[in-house]
């Protein structure tokens, strides 16, 4: 086994920022807004680095798709302990329309090219909440997948994944190479140490274009309009159950 793990990291608007819709309703305001690494991607990087520290894998490669700015996100992954980075250059309209389908095609191509043993991704991104990239990547590669992982254990050429599902916890064992997506309780991401921040400067980030990987960035989805969620209406207090039923009937709810 190559001992190489590919980790996808996405640059998203920071979770603490108040999102504003653009006046033309074509999307949300991103200019001048604070961006950071998707929290689930941080968890994915942490898991990969942990595996390397346990000497179960040899190399962690951080991948991000987007314009020049995503290099900051890759550097953060390098500062957390990834060995090298790959920046897949996507900009302009291609970037605006980029979604899980395009990213999973890119990840699949890179996983084959890098002969990855494992691909670890965040379960979903906090901007689009798609929860599709991991699953699509596995399908394109015809690899097994362990999604919503709250525990990952390498056992020889298999991976034991404990998944958080609606009913509780499900434990599966899958062959490698495989795709795993990280859920919230998988680990607590580390703060980059200062020496690692300094070392990150020297680590390599390779530049690649989607065309080099044979990936067509054309989107099958067209965004028609983006609106804010409706304003929360004030509630109403009622005295008795009869009042409650009456009001619900009035509002046409029952």
């Amino acid at each position: 086994m190559s001992g190489r793990v590919l980790v996808g990291v996405k640059r998203v608007i920071d979770y603490a920022v108040k999102i504003r819709v653009k006046p033309d309703h074509s999307g949300v305001v991103t200019d001048g807004v604070k961006h950071s690494m998707n929290p689930f991607c941080e968890i994915a990087v942490e898991e990969a680095v942990k595996l390397k520290e346990k000497k179960l894998i040899k190399e962690v490669v951080a991948v991000s798709c987007g314009p020049q700015q995503v290099q900051e996100t890759i550097r953060t992954a390098l500062a957390m302990g990834a060995d090298r980075g790959i920046h897949v250059e996507v900009s302009g309209k291609d970037y605006d329309n980029m979604g899980p389908l395009q990213v999973s095609k890119i990840m699949a191509a890179l996983a084959k090219k890098e002969e990855a043993q494992l691909v670890i991704l965040g379960k979903q991104a906090i901007d689009d909440d798609c929860n599709q990239t991991g699953q699509m990547t596995a399908a394109l590669l015809d690899w097994p997948q362990g999604t919503f992982a709250s525990e990952v254990t390498l056992e020889g050429d298999k991976v034991k994944v404990v998944r958080e599902i609606d009913g509780g916890l499900e434990t599966i064992k899958i062959n490698t190479p495989a795709v795993v997506t990280a859920d919230l309780r998988l680990n607590t991401p580390r703060y980059a140490t200062l020496p690692n921040i300094m070392k990150a400067k020297k680590k390599k980030i390779a530049n690649v274009k989607p065309a080099d990987l044979g990936v067509d960035m054309a989107s099958r989805v067209e965004v028609l309009r983006v609106d804010e969620p409706p304003q929360r209406q004030a509630g109403m207090k009622v005295e008795t159950v009869e009042d409650l039923v009456g009001k619900l009937k009035e509002a046409g709810r029952i």
Binding site: E72, A79, Y191, A192, T193, L194, P195, I197, M198
Partner: protein
């Protein structure tokens, strides 16, 4: 500045490449500040780069800010109320390398520069001012002099264990009888065979109750006055060294402050730091750098006060609109932001000069003076903007007000800073 004609604008680009160039702020303001001018030469940085920090410094700043937001801000009020030392957080910061930022990798430190250090202390202090002072004292006042004046053996023994956050150090210069008048040290060290015997009392020592070692200044030759003071290293706890009661302070309450009492404290001769009689010089040079750390701490407090006030100005409504729409509030916010940004640039300048091994005494004193006065000003105005809410513990404004006050006093009072600056100016203008 020595009298020199202002530099023509078109030469600024070239000048930023040469060491020793003097660039005037009025030229800097006229420049189209952009990446094209941000040439970063390893080891030599110019003022044109103050407009945008190098990538590594931005990452470091963001990391410290994230840490402060998530781990310090939520507990700062509790630490203050209970006067409790943030041991867990200091360990975590140690693991990150923040407690020994300038110390080379070989001795266990982060091997970074002073600009990085001032960014780190500012962000940490923004979360919790007490944690900020613990970090600053360990870096600048304890490790600083040992790194500069210690032997290789002393560095290994007294620095390496203090880089991880497991142990912190302190700096004992002030006495009950003299603070600003540091030359009048009445703590005596006399040689007896192969030992130094120290007697005396040191006052107002930050970190004292939590420290595992201290740098102490004592008179070895009374006749030589301030040239007869020497520096010593003493582990803590240690026979002959005891601590006074923990002071009940107005602010920075999570950091301990107490007297250190030396009664026939016997230490090996090898515990002297630097040459005999060099103590005063060591103390003054150490404080020069320490001032940059305290300026950074004051900036953090001032920034936290502004953050609190600006947020409140958006949310609080009065007379039918958010109070941020009113000129009186706007003028306050503008003045606060101006005070902070000016002090911040002074702090960065002092750090950059120090990193370039240029004289920085005047700039460090200016930075500390500007930043501490900005901290007291901003925290005062922050309470004013919050009105009644600023006076209660529900909001952090009152804690910033109490934390800010000490920054004008320790590591050189504002009055001493003015004397230092005036001294430097008079030297520059010496006919």
């Amino acid at each position: 500045m020595k009298s020199k004609s202002p530099v023509p604008l078109q030469l600024i680009g070239d000048l930023s490449l040469s060491l020793g160039s003097k660039i005037y702020f009025r030229e800097l303001l006229a420049l189209p500040i952009g990446k094209s001018l941000g040439l970063c030469l390893s080891g030599c940085r110019s003022l044109t780069q103050l407009a945008e920090l190098p990538e590594m410094h931005q990452m470091l700043r963001q990391t410290c800010r994230d840490y402060a937001d998530r781990e310090l801000t939520p507990i700062a009020a509790k630490l203050d109320k209970e006067h409790s030392f943030p041991a867990k957080q200091i360990q975590e910061l140690g693991a990150m390398g923040v407690l020994a930022m300038e110390v080379p990798d070989g001795l266990g430190g982060a091997g970074m520069d002073y600009l990085a250090y001032s960014l780190a202390v500012e962000e940490i202090s923004r979360g919790c001012a007490s944690t900020g002072v613990v970090v600053s004292v360990n870096n600048s006042l304890y490790i600083g002099p040992i790194l500069k004046f210690g032997t290789e053996e002393q560095k290994k023994q007294w620095i390496t264990p203090f880089t991880t956050g497991e142990k912190v150090g302190c700096f004992a210069l002030s006495e009950p009888g003299n603070g600003s008048d540091a030359g009048a040290a009445s703590t005596i060290a006399r040689q007896e065979g192969d030992e130094w015997v120290l007697n005396g009392t040191k006052a107002w020592i930050t970190n004292s109750w939590d420290a595992s070692a201290t740098v102490v200044f004592a008179t070895t030759d009374k006749s030589l006055k301030h040239k007869g003071i020497s520096a010593f290293l003493i582990p803590m706890p240690y026979p002959g060294l005891s601590l006074g009661k923990k002071e009940d302070k107005l602010g920075i309450r999570a950091s301990s402050t107490a007297n250190i009492i030396l009664e026939d404290c016997r230490i090996p001769l090898g515990n002297m730091l630097g040459p005999r009689g060099a103590g005063f010089k060591i103390a003054m040079q150490t404080l020069d750098s320490g001032r940059i750390g305290i300026a950074a701490q004051a900036l953090g407090i001032a920034q936290a006060a502004l953050d609190c006030a600006a947020d409140y100005a958006h949310k609080r409504t009065a007379f039918g609109a958010p109070i941020g729409k009113m000129q009186a509030i706007q003028f306050k916010l503008a003045d606060m932001a101006l005070a902070i940004e000016s002090a911040r640039l002074l702090t960065w300048k002092a750090a950059i000069l120090r990193d370039a091994k240029k004289p920085f005494t005047k700039e460090a004193a200016m930075a500390k003076l500007a930043a501490s006065e900005a901290a007291t000003y901003c925290s005062h105005q922050s309470i004013q903007i919050l009105g009644g809410m600023g006076y209660v513990t529900d909001m952090p404004a009152e804690r910033h007000y109490r934390d800010a006050r000490i920054t004008e006093i320790y590591e050189g009072t504002s009055e001493i800073q003015r004397l230092v600056i005036a001294n430097q100016i008079l030297k520059e203008y010496q006919p």
